[in-house]
């Protein structure tokens, strides 16, 4: 009797154990899948992120920390005219890029969807997508050649059309350098923004557009009354993306201007690069990086808010 109940007990326990192994695998499956992801992110993203904030408070030289400085690095930054000029340049550059890129990409997207034929649309998409896969460094080097004082395309063009007196060293004069780097990639169409706008516009039901036009609003009126409000989501998405990439851009400095002439094209991103890899002041570089994060957050916050506000006004 007791031996029988014992064997029943064991077999029941055995089934429960077998069941529970599978049960736990299923219960923890998401965690098992996520484990490698989280390990990788902790090592290569979270630790560097948090240590950047910590190092910004020290005199870290990449090997050891001699002193804890508190906010001294930040005081130094905001006393350094190079960094302050950089902040101003970054604001000008980023605003110009956001406005220009969105305006041109949106205009081109509107042009593309005014064709009904899918084949024609695809043709234009391909025309503007191919240059997108040219490496960014090649694109910038080409623009360096366009702006070059001697044999450069822009100056040669000005000479060819009889405006030789307008020719100048575009990147070499402080009056034009910042605007020149903001102008790189003109007309700014081959990029994500254009494709996102086209596919968003294609998502607007044709009836809505036609209805608007039958009601007698012209095409331009339709763009403002229908298209832009309906593209709100895409516009915000692209604007935030462009703000963040504008703040972080170092290609113009790295490839074209080295921050010069003088401080004409200095930016905080370039400041980080030089502080760390030219002067070995890793603590100061980390502090400049921290400032950029806050600037990025503030900029994107206002971008999102401005777009929502604008959209709300149209809705009224």
């Amino acid at each position: 009797m007791s031996s029988m109940s014992g064997s029943v007990e064991t077999s029941r326990r055995r089934t429960r154990e077998r069941r529970s192994a599978g049960y736990y695998v299923n219960k923890y499956l998401p965690w098992i899948l996520l484990a490698p992801v989280l390990v990788h992110l902790v090592i290569f993203r979270y630790i560097p992120t948090f240590s950047a904030f910590f190092y910004s408070l020290t005199d870290w030289d990449g090997i050891r920390i001699r002193r804890f400085l508190g906010l001294r690095n930040f005081e130094d930054l905001f006393a350094d005219y190079v960094f302050l000029d950089g902040l101003r340049n970054m604001a000008i550059y980023t605003s110009l890029r956001v406005v220009l890129l969105i305006a041109f990409a949106f205009l081109a997207a509107e042009f593309v969807i005014s064709f009904r034929s899918a084949a024609v649309r695809t043709f234009w998409k391909i025309v503007f997508v191919v240059p997108m896969v040219v490496p960014i460094s090649v694109t910038y080097l080409l623009w360096g050649f366009i702006f070059a004082p001697q044999n450069g395309m822009l100056n040669s063009l000005l000479q060819a059309i009889g405006l030789a007196e307008m020719a100048r060293p575009w990147l070499g004069s402080s009056a034009t350098a910042l605007y020149s780097i903001a102008f790189v990639q003109f007309p700014f169409i081959s990029g994500l923004a254009f494709l996102v706008f086209v596919s968003a516009l294609e998502g607007i039901p044709r009836d809505v557009m036609d209805a608007c036009e039958i009601e007698g609003c012209g095409r331009i009126r339709r763009v403002f009354a229908v298209d832009i409000p309906m593209l709100r989501g895409s516009l915000i998405f692209i604007a935030v993306l462009l703000v963040l990439s504008g703040i972080q851009a170092v290609e113009p400095q790295l490839i074209l201007t080295k921050g010069g002439p003088g401080t004409a094209t200095e930016t905080p991103g370039w400041y980080v690069y030089r502080a760390a890899f030219q002067y070995g002041d890793f603590g100061l570089a980390a502090a400049a990086g921290v400032v950029m994060v806050f600037v990025g957050l503030v900029f994107s916050y206002y971008t999102v808010r401005a777009r929502y506000k604008g959209a709300y006004d149209v809705g009224q």
Binding site: P36, V127, W143, I146, S156, L254
Partner: protein, 279 residues
């Protein structure tokens, strides 16, 4: 034709609705493309030809520029294929795991964890470049593929996980239930149901990842002190002129460096466009 075009045609007016977009797009295309055409034309010129005819192709083509730059550029292309290929494989793997875990299951702490991962999108590369650089040095990764591939993967998988989560959430749940009811284990469901269905989503992730790794400039410059190990982007910077430069050779290097991704793209144009629209 849209309604207004039809109206215009009926009234016999000039079809502005088609002419303006065509003219506008043609102008944009011309300005976008001409620098690249110029690059191609110049890469086929001798020094003499460059100064004789600046704006357009000259004949006969001079292929020597390509012969001259090929040894160095081919090395860079090979490097880039290895680095970007490895990073692509790892990024797809992690995006799939993460996206599937978040898209298919409910578990404690899911929302907070997802938010914590998404927060990384707001952390700019420029903030972490310094600590990450020192970390790579401590790991002994400098000048190796690992210094590029592992951090790249850490960056790209975040948006990848986000995209794949959205993608899996859009798939009908019955697909997975059916497979489970039929007796497939969770692993089999992942391998034989989820992965085949996820291919279009993975395509979008792959495109973004390739564009990012192929273009990255500052991180390889910082971590690869040996010029032979550089990928294509920074290698292009080694070809630049000051006085009395051989423009033909420089532009031949640029053309060669740009070629691989353009070839890949032209083979997969349709998938590329669909992939970007999937974002």
């Amino acid at each position: 034709m849209s309604v207004s075009e039809a109206g215009a045609a009926r009234r016999g007016r000039f079809p502005w609705g088609l002419v303006v977009p065509t003219a506008g797009l043609s102008f944009f295309a011309l300005v976008t493309w001409y620098p690249f055409v110029f690059m191609l034309a110049t890469s086929l010129k001798t020094r003499q030809q460059f100064f004789e005819s600046y704006w357009w192709f000259t004949f006969p083509f001079d292929w020597m520029n390509y012969v001259e730059v090929w040894p160095r550029v081919s090395r860079a292309i090979l490097n880039s294929l290895v680095y970007s290929g490895l990073a692509l494989a790892l990024t797809l793997f992690f995006s799939l795991l993460g996206g599937y875990a978040f898209g298919r299951f409910n578990f404690r702490g899911k929302d907070i964890l997802f938010l914590a991962i998404l927060m990384l999108l707001m952390v700019p590369g420029i903030l972490t470049i310094v600590p990450l650089f020192v970390q790579m040095r401590q790991f002994g990764f400098m000048n190796t593929w690992a210094a590029l591939v592992l951090p790249w993967t850490g960056f790209e998988m975040v948006f990848g996980i986000y995209l794949m989560r959205l993608f899996f959430e859009r798939l009908p749940r019955e697909l997975f239930h059916a497979a489970r009811v039929e007796g497939a284990s969770e692993w089999k469901v992942l391998l034989f149901v989820a992965i085949p269905l996820a291919l279009p989503g993975l395509g979008s992730v792959a495109i973004l990842d390739l564009l990012f790794t192929w273009n990255d400039l500052i991180w390889p410059i910082v971590t690869m002190s040996d010029q032979n190990n550089l990928p294509v982007g920074p290698t292009a910077l080694l070809f630049r002129g000051n006085e009395n430069v051989d423009y033909g050779a420089i532009f031949a290097a640029y053309v060669t460096i740009s070629a691989p991704l353009i070839i890949v793209f032209s083979l997969f144009t349709r998938q590329f466009l669909r992939g970007i629209e999937g974002i």
